[in-house]
Amino acid sequence: MPFHLIPPSASTNAGDVDAIFWALTGLSVFILTIVFGPLTYFAVKYRRGSKADRTPPRLATWKFEVTWTIIPFIIGMGIFAWAADVFFHIETPPSNALEVDVVGKQWMWKLQHAEGNREINELHVPIGQPIKLTMTSQDVIHDFFIPAFRVKQDVVPGRYTTEWFTATKVGRYYIFCAQFCGTSHSSMIGWVDVMHPVDYQRWLVTTGQGETMATAGQRLFNQVGCSGCHGVSSKIHAPRLEGLYGGPVPLEGGQVVTADDKYIRDSILLPASQIAAGYQNLMPSFAGRLSEDEVMQLIAYIKSLASEPSPGSNP
């Protein structure tokens, strides 16, 4: 079995994280040396019975104190800033990222690509392309950890969390659940398969579902009754969804929020918590009637709606 000290570095961020890690290791070795060194030296030189000069030193001790207070402080601030900067980058997905939705549950991962492909405990991605994961849990807190990419994020029930990476090496890398979630926490293991773009396309085609997430969402939109109020031909006074995603939504009470994934999810599952301005609290909640996967499909559909409804796309 090959002996590794660090995991493979297979993402664009991995190098940046490793750099800080090695710098900290170097700093630690240095500090241990300047502590253990004198400690050992003094322990030997000044052991009882040794011939050493023990006349009490006349040192301005405050100079030492100030030095070994200020220098560690400055070093600490430097590392903080460096790591915070890289962290900011880790937490900010690029706008051209491919989106994959993840639902964690005891004790497996369910993944859906925008193209509709679904996977269990596995994630196929193309190399060199930013991938953004939008994640939620069906039950307890889990965590989607890919050591080789140096990324990790808690997967929390009741909200969406995101994680992104760009893979740089073809290969198969572990996905671990990194937040204790019950009996089979340690079995909740998966794999990321990083492929050449051509192979990835082929994989997409051969394992396709026949419908994209957005199409699945559209199907649900009709099946579950959303179109009854939100469809173009509906007589009910309900907010229009075309062009909604990403834009501002004024609420009753004066607040203005952005129609992001969280807003849409809450609108479906907790509609009473944010009423759009000019509308009444009439929408029923779909909590319990839709799975997290299905909510994500609906969101994909709503994202896909252009500002003008085009003929033929009416439900």
Binding site: Y46, R54, F80, F87, I90, D143, H185
Partner: protein, 546 residues
């Protein structure tokens, strides 16, 4: 200051003389209460250590075939709960602090002796609940009780265990309250704040955290229970709650709690380093104020446990910067202890070996804390074996080592007997070797990506677990040895003089073991602490005059 040999063939009357059960269980003597705590924490430590042993043996097989996953989860839970609340938090404060503080400041007892006894009973009642919850099937949430797992998904024994921690928490609040009042008001004449030994400064800072942080834990545990029993949505999103709220409330207490667990150890080290290098401490004021600084800033960093929890990035940055700041006072202490050895006259009795080990192991533990405070690196390391290695270096390499050092140092005062020195030194070295072998490989394992709380793991991580379990068996021997020889020495050890170490400090000016009221007459303090002379020590050693 030279030590005076006081040997006597017959045992003089002391606080240990009366030995009815009632005189122990209804005592209000701080020294006896310390021993009550000592016996009970050893009991809880033993259970938690057995759990750890079972885990380490099970981890020898990557597929975890030795125990069921649920059993493994229950093992790490009971290990954490007992070690944190029923061993580490009481260890130095309730055992050594209770015994030594009144004597060190020249008092007859603590300010509220009856509250002191009550605190032990609350501790025991809490422990009973926790042990009971294990007997009826155990809890598998981890000592951190994260929601909604603990409130909605885990088995109902959670409530019993949480109740146990809740009750024991009141015991630790009372201990902290007692120490604060005692240190403020019971100092002997002449014992000004800046003549106090640094052990007192550390315990004072610890007590501040005990009284201010523990109530928040109580509220958090209450909230878990309410959600669990009545289904009221506080943390479970399905019931309308917020799971991350739990993490804020829990860590608001539990981060300061880790400073409760390390500050006393640092206090012990200050005493040992000065005594065994026969030198005044380097930087008294800086060490004293560092203790207080750690206590205060320690309340402001709890979010560093939550960088990937979906907490806001900006909140994370505030917590990260404060975490780097809180590291500085600890660094100051390490440098000051090292500088104390300069031009000293150093001997290597068992307590000193533990003190030196503390400095080394705590430094490693503290440095690895910087890795975790660095946000980008914490993304990789959070909830992996790296974190386990980090906190065991601080808690075991630091605190337990400090406890062992202090226990050996004050053993002659507590029991009136000397422990066997050679065995003491051997055990210290065995513990040091075993400890490093157990926990160092886990740093590598963590960066490689193995998450914590894993009952089974991919086979490529096997070698690290084999090394760690090998180390654990050596560590176990290192802890078993003092258990045996200290108990043996209480009966058969060489009788100890009042001041076997020639140490400064008021506690050494009474007989070993001390009488019920500690001092014949209230001492009058005129010297600064640590009034040692290395040159004099050498002279005494050379001329053979003691």
């Amino acid at each position: 200051m030279s030590s005076v040999q006081e040997t006597s063939g017959l045992a003089a009357e002391s606080y240990l003389t009366e030995h009815t059960v009632g005189s122990w269980l209804l005592t209000t003597d701080h020294k006896r209460i310390a021993i009550l705590y000592l016996v009970s924490i050893v009991f809880f430590f033993a259970i938690a250590a057995v759990a750890a042993a079972m885990m380490r043996v099970s981890l020898l097989w990557p597929d975890g075939r030795l125990v069921l996953p649920e059993t493994y989860n229950k093992l790490f839970t009971i290990h954490g709960v007992l070690m944190v609340w029923f061993f580490l938090i009481p260890s130095i404060p309730a055992v050594l602090g209770n015994f030594v503080i009144p004597m060190m400041i020249g008092a007859r007892d603590v300010a509220f002796p009856k509250l002191n006894l009550l605190s032990w009973y609350l501790f025991m009642l809490g422990g009973a609940f926790v042990v009971y919850s294990v007997i009826v099937g155990g809890v598998d949430t981890g000592w951190t009780f994260y929601t909604p797992y603990s409130t909605t998904f885990a088995n109902p024994n959670v409530i019993t265990m949480v109740a146990g921690v809740f009750v024991a928490g009141f015991g630790s609040i009372l201990t902290g309250l007692n120490f604060i009042v005692t240190i403020h008001k019971m100092r002997a004449p002449g014992m000004t704040w800046f003549r106090l030994p640094l052990f007192i400064w550390s315990l004072y800072s610890t007590s501040l955290i005990l009284v201010l942080a523990t109530p928040v834990l109580a509220i958090t545990l209450l909230a878990i229970s309410v959600e669990r029993i009545w289904g009221l949505g506080i943390f479970d999103p399905n019931l309308g709650g917020d799971p991350v709220l739990f993490q804020h409330m829990f860590w608001f207490y539990s981060h300061p709690a880790v400073y409760i667990m390390i500050l006393p150890g640092m206090g012990v080290v200050s005493e040992l380093i000065t005594c065994f290098s026969r030198k005044k401490i380097f930087g008294y004021y800086f060490i004293a104020f560092s203790s207080v600084a750690i206590a205060v800033v320690g309340f402001l960093v709890w979010g560093h446990h939550m960088f990937v929890s979906s907490q806001s990035m900006y909140a994370g940055m505030v917590f990260s910067i404060l975490s780097f700041i809180v590291a500085v006072p600890s660094a100051i202490k390490v440098f000051n202890w090292t500088a104390t050895l300069y031009k000293g006259s150093i001997t290597f009795e068992t307590p000193m070996l533990y003190a030196l080990a503390f400095i080394g192991l705590f430094t490693i533990g503290g440095l690895t804390g910087l890795f975790l405070a660095a946000m980008a690196v914490d993304v990789q390391l959070h909830d992996t074996y790296f974190v386990i290695a980090h906190f065991h270096y601080i808690m075991v390499g630091g605190m337990v080592t400090g406890f062992m050092g202090g226990l050996h140092y004050w053993w002659p005062k507590i029991s009136g007997r000397m422990y066997p020195e050679l065995l003491g030194r051997i055990a210290a070295v065995v513990t040091f070797v075993g400890f490093n072998l157990t926990f160092f490989p886990l740093f590598v394992l963590g960066y490689l990506g193995q998450p914590r709380r894993y009952h089974s793991y991919p086979p490529e991580f096997h070698i690290f677990h084999v090394l760690s379990t090998a180390g654990a068996s050596i560590l176990g021997i290192g802890y078993l040895m003092p258990l045996i020889y200290l108990v043996w020495s209480a009966r058969y050890g060489e009788r100890a003089p009042a001041n076997p170490w020639g140490a400064t400090g008021l506690e050494w000016r009474t007989p070993s073991p001390p009488p019920r009221d500690n001092f014949e007459e209230t001492p009058l303090v005129t010297d600064d602490p640590y009034d040692y002379s290395a040159i004099e020590a050498e002279l005494i050693d050379q001329t053979g005059l003691r």
